[in-house]
Symmetry: C2
Subunit: 414 residues, 2 copies
């Protein structure tokens, strides 16, 4: 079916629309900043609203600011095929993260409406209000409200860096007053999200599309080693209770363990704080972060348990003490097998290279994935770079993503 498209015309359209959406919040640096409910965010939603209406679809917001573009179906009983991504960005982010999923949805629905008319089942485009957690210390506000895992009761005391409450920001942007429909949806058949990979797997493997089997589970800890401060010159090596040395042993051990795991587990220590952090004083306290991810919750559990058992031995050997603070424990979320098979069929038929993979990063799809059948489909990120003005995906790959989305929506809705 997608053979009917003129790829060159689609390429130009994709490029234009990526630039068009990036123009809302574009900065001198080339970065894009659209934070939940800010000016750039509002302008972008209004521009998408106009585009939706221009396509002849029905635009509507829900009461937290998610924007929908509805193409009604012939079957009045049919549930909604939902597709889209998030409109918010990190500060100084790229042009593709979230935005590409919205652009692709608009183009796909435009194509389907033009070439195939009204579908059997309703298709809705969604521009989700928030995913990144870049303004307020909270993520998935858009998808969380749609699926009912978040609501107004969960945001008491949530404030941005300027002390503005989420409630206030929402009202200032024209939402939260009950003028729009309540966000919780019970009429969804499935959700399909096209997104950039934000990793290097597809590029390195030379594949155009990633079909995500699972969004990995994540555990995050802060681990504190308590030793004893002493003079770096007058304290013999054998009498030290060196928190830095202990932490180095632990970081080395856990990273080697993660490297030895061949099932895709990743473990990262990206943050460290040392006290007193003075070159000629033995460290009395070191806190380091631990971020562990895998598609299987049991594997994460086992990895942490094994490491922590060995950490206790290391700490005892060094005369230091340990404290663990687990502050995140998100289970893995499986994407829908049937939707993935449908995507795979299309890609095989069209001769587009693809790879089944896990998503190491979180996405709105992990919220939808526990609520309705969900597919998360990736296009490559050049150099794996994201959350940066350098974020880039070749137009050919973007185009293959749009073609897949068109075909998948056709298969599901017509």
């Amino acid at each position: 079916m997608i053979k009917q498209l003129k790829p060159s015309a689609l390429s130009a359209q994709i490029e234009d629309m990526v630039e068009w959406l990036a123009s809302y919040g574009l900065e001198q640096s080339g970065g894009v900043t659209r934070l939940l409910y800010d000016q750039a965010w509002s302008s972008a939603q209004k521009a998408i609203q106009a585009k939706i209406e221009q396509l002849g679809l029905t635009a509507c917001y829900d009461d937290v600011g998610n924007l929908f573009g509805r193409l009604a179906g012939k079957d009045p009983e049919a549930k909604v095929i939902l597709t889209g991504s998030h409109i918010d960005t990190v500060t100084g982010g790229g042009k593709y993260d979230g935005a590409f999923g919205i652009v692709a949805s608009l183009l796909a629905v435009e194509y389907l409406l033009t070439h195939h008319g009204q579908p059997l089942k309703p298709i809705e485009i969604v521009s989700l209000c928030e995913e990144e957690g870049s303004r307020f210390p909270m993520t998935y506000w858009g998808s969380g409200n749609i699926t009912g895992v978040k609501d107004r009761d969960t945001i008491h005391n949530v404030k941005d860096a300027n002390g503005i409450s989420l409630e206030q920001a929402m009202r200032d942007a024209g939402f939260g007053s009950g003028l729009h429909s309540p966000p919780k949806r019970t009429d969804l058949e499935c959700f399909i999200e096209l997104h950039i990979e934000q990793g290097e797997v597809l590029e390195r493997k030379g594949k155009s599309i990633g079909i995500v089997s699972h969004i990995v589970g994540q555990r995050r800890y802060n681990i504190t080693v308590y030793g004893e401060s002493n003079h770096a010159g007058t304290t013999p090596m054998q009498w030290r209770q060196d928190a830095m040395f202990t932490a180095a042993e632990m970081i080395r051990l856990l990273t080697h363990r993660a490297k030895a795991d061949m099932s895709g587990l990743v473990a990262t220590v990206g943050h460290m704080e040392v006290k007193p952090n003075v070159g000629n004083v033995i460290a009395r306290e070191v806190t380091f972060s631990l971020d562990v991810r895998h598609s299987d919750a049991g594997t994460i559990e086992q990895f942490c348990e094994t490491c922590f058992r060995e950490f206790e031995t290391i700490a005892a050997e060094h005369g230091t003490r340990l404290m663990y603070h687990k502050w995140m424990d998100e289970p893995p979320v499986a994407m829908d097998h049937t939707l993935n098979e449908a995507a795979e069929d299309i890609l095989r038929r069209e001769g587009i290279s693809y790879k089944r993979m896990t998503s190491g990063a979180g996405h709105d799809s992990q919220i939808f994935g526990t609520y309705c059948p969900t597919a998360l489909l990736f296009v490559p990120s050049r150099g794996g770079i994201s959350h940066s003005p350098a974020e880039f995906t070749h137009t050919e790959d973007l185009q293959r993503g749009v073609l897949l989305l068109i075909d998948l929506l056709y298969k599901l809705a017509y």
Copy 2:
């Protein structure tokens, strides 16, 4: 000779004088702060000056503020036996660091003058103006001027945290104008410094006196590992160039190597800076300090060379790069063998327990040690604690230090 003393009377005198000197700069917290040329420093020097004059000695300052108390000798040709320590402290320091050496010198000379009258050779007490580097980014200003390794030409642009230049601070305190004698001395026979250990060796070994054979050499580096920032979720373990993991391997390796050295080498990583230092981002840059000390320069050299060779291998394995910045390289300084033997004879004769040892910390004696025969003698520090209000030495140990100083000065000057 020291049998003539009444130990109980001396104990009380020592305790009184420690408290008397600590009263200049004493804070609510119990800490003592006397920074070079500040109010508390000036008051302390004036109080010592009064005490010197009260003992019937001649007090005089040199032009940088070192204070001397001279007991003239019978031999007009004889060079000076100098003893003392520094009057300045760290911010919120203890009552013993530096101060005890001055108190002991005053008590020892008082005793000798009372019981033995005028010596053959002149004895001078010195209250050195600066050792700690706690106000200005510079150490050994007092001993450096006396021995000629520092002078006014070396302090251009040296300023304190408030932007006051060392030159200005010196003038405000009444020095640097040429009214006092030039600090450089060419008439010293030897220097004897009694000081607290600031380490735990004597306490753990149950010894009262430490006879220092060498003040260790020190090298200090900042070592930077350059990796690549990447997403902690989407970057498989085998593709990472993780600066934190690399640094952990290096810190572990160097610390194990130092522990395996049985000749007293110490190596410390007390400082670390991570970029971007975010838990879910692989570190692109880690800078850590390395502080290596030993009494033999060759051992330091060999340790660093071996470690750095292995660091290169580790960095290559991890796809990271390394940069070394050596910002301190002080050679070890030997104390005078003959003076040390004289001290040892006295201690053996008096039945006072002692230990030959190295000093892992720097002292004015390392400056004098390259200039004239020098002895550095330690008394124990409880728990090894120093630079803190908790700094403490038992009076019995202080008294043994004073007795040793009396006997040593007697042997040298009478």
